[in-house]
Amino acid sequence: MSPTWTRFNIVSVTLGFAFLYLPIVLLVIFSFNASKLVTVWGGFSTRWYVSLFQNQGLMDAAWVTIRVGLISATVATVLGTLGALALVRYTRFRGRVLFSGMIFAPLVMPDVITGLSLLLLFVAIDLDRGFATVTLAHITFTMCFVAVVVQSRLLTFDRSLEEAAMDLGAPPVRTFFQITLPVIAPAIISGWMLAFTLSLDDLVVASFTSGPGATTLPMKIYSQVRLGVTPEINAACTILIGLVTAGVIIASIVNKRREVQRLRDEQAAQRG
């Protein structure tokens, strides 16, 4: 590929990135605005970050979100992994096609419908809405994402590894925990992180299924924004962006290093 920058290239790249990042950049800039007016620049200040941490409502919501995320991602990972195993391994059970269709349906289901149907269910079984119902709802809709990630790993899993373990005397359960699980662990971890992220930024499902005392951060932010955007919200969002960016960067550096190390090992092996 030739590295020449035509004017057309420059313009399209600039426009593209501007389209993607301008709103975020604005948000970050205005989180450091000294003025209380969101759209008027009044000098640099970090006062909104200070007041953010003093805003009990926002802090409570953040704490609820993190707890919901941790619990639902963990449970969804266990259930999603089991579902993926069943779908990949037991290919001959009755109704497999139906079951596999059903586990993936929530992927394309509009959040509104997922939220509404869960709400109806909770009302029907007379479950008080609150922390438990949000967590349950998040488990439901993140589980299928985990199942998809784990399933794609299992499809390329060499079954002879398990056969070898059994051949060497390991019963099925021990084989699963000592061989299968460690080998597919990276996929399970990425499934968990995906579920956690989805739970963190879910607004719609949470709005339907949450109740008093279980307001998540996205719900809190949304309700405050309706009363007018405050610089505090900008600060909260900037922190979230910072966390996500750091996470992505760390993950890719770790991945890259592992890849480089693996290549180096393999080259060493070819020589040795």
């Binding site: 070898a164 051949d167 060497l168 080998v183 092996a269």
Partner: protein
């Protein structure tokens, strides 16, 4: 008396009616849905034997091995190991170990841990495991690689780890599924001899599955030739080559020329055969072929002589045209198109550097062979 070549001295339990069979397949059938992978197969393997299952892919040889390992259960029939019926015994309780075609090394464990895995499952005390692992590493000459992970090893090294891991538990029987399939040609030849040495050293029974006839011929005491879930012949490599039981076996193992024909006369020792377009063949040892029977005469290329004139003493000689010559260095392969249209392959060792009877493309030539050079096949 003339005899066929043999490899191991004084080891032929299959000829001894008192020898106790070690592995017995008794009328074993295995079906996958409508597909019959193994069809009513009976087979006996003896202790310390190096036994090869040879066949094209899909012939049922791997299924047979997997049934022995316990990954598949026979649909009918039974499998006995040292007199014990293996039915219903799961793979993790069978005294056999398998070396997988893909090696199936555990990617998250070091070489050491891979080899120790089976021993740990047995509950062997740690100091003993350590000793056994060291012993195994020495056996496969990988002492320096104990702490490496599988992806840090070359193909040949991985193969050795897989081997060490599968013999570490001292199984009664070692099953090898295409053990050398993933290695390049040179390494494969070296490893064949190493496997044979190892088998002698450990005194184990080896059952190896392969599609490579050279590999089977080199290593095995006996070979079972399989086709479509059935055993076509079980015999020593020399018997399989020199006395094939059928047209299939003759053409599956090595190169062969087959003359289809009819027995016109049986004599005390042999028979007179008539082939297509007036070909006449005199053979010794015509087996159970009766006069009038439709049979095939099979002869290996190296047993056919090619010359420019008809040899005076030849019992069997046919004239034709040199159609193709392939000079391979150690030998030369001739394709001679007989006057009846059949192309015969003949090969000659280049025992001397020059020849007195040079032949080239399109020369008239004679092929000749002795009456005992080939075999009569009725199947």
């Amino acid at each position: 008396m003339k005899s066929l070549g043999s490899i191991r001295k004084d080891f032929a339990p299959w000829n001894d009616s008192n020898a106790k069979p070690y592995i017995q397949f008794e009328q074993v059938t295995k079906k996958f849905g409508d597909f019959t992978a193994v069809n009513n197969l009976s087979l006996t393997i003896f202790e310390r034997e190096f036994f090869a299952l040879l066949g094209a892919s899909g012939c049922g040889k791997s299924t047979l091995l997997r049934m022995l390992a316990g990954f598949e259960e026979p649909t009918s029939g039974r499998i006995l190991l040292d007199g014990q019926n293996l039915a219903g015994i799961p793979p993790y309780r069978r005294p056999v170990n398998m070396m997988f075609q893909s090696y199936a090394l555990f990617p998250h464990m070091t070489v050491e841990k891979n080899i120790a895995f089976g021993l740990k499952q047995e509950g062997m005390p740690a100091p003993e495991i350590e000793k056994r692992v060291a012993e195994m590493l020495k056996l496969v000459k990988l002492e320096a690689f104990a702490k490496r992970k599988p992806h840090q090893l070359s193909g040949g090294q991985r193969q050795r780890v897989a081997l060490a891991r599968s013999v570490a538990k001292r199984p009664k029987v070692l099953l090898l599924d295409e053990p050398l399939g993933a290695l390049d040609k040179k390494l494969r030849e070296e490893t064949q001899f190493e496997l044979m040495d190892l088998q002698q050293q450990l005194g184990l029974t080896f059952v190896v599955v392969t599609h490579d006839q050279e590999e089977a011929m080199t290593m095995a005491d006996r070979i079972a030739i399989m086709d479509k879930g059935e055993v076509m012949q079980v015999a020593t490599p020399a018997e399989v080559y020199e006395a094939p039981a059928s047209r299939f076996v003759a053409s599956f193992v090595g190169n062969v020329n087959i003359f289809e024909g009819k027995v016109i006369e049986r004599t005390a020792q042999g028979a007179q055969l008539a082939g297509a377009n007036g070909v006449q063949i005199l053979v010794e040892n015509a087996g159970d072929a009766v006069a009038g029977a439709e049979v095939a005469f099979a002869i290996r290329p190296e047993k056919i002589r090619v010359s420019s004139k008809r040899p005076a003493d030849a019992a069997n000689a046919m004239e034709g045209l040199v159609y193709d010559i392939a000079y391979l260095g150690d030998m030369t392969v001739y394709h001679v198109k007989l006057d009846n249209g059949q192309i015969v392959r003949a090969s000659a060792m280049n025992a001397t550097r020059t020849t007195d009877d040079p032949l080239t493309w399109d020369d008239r030539a004679w092929i000749s062979f002795r009456p005992d050079a080939g075999v009569v096949l009725t199947r």
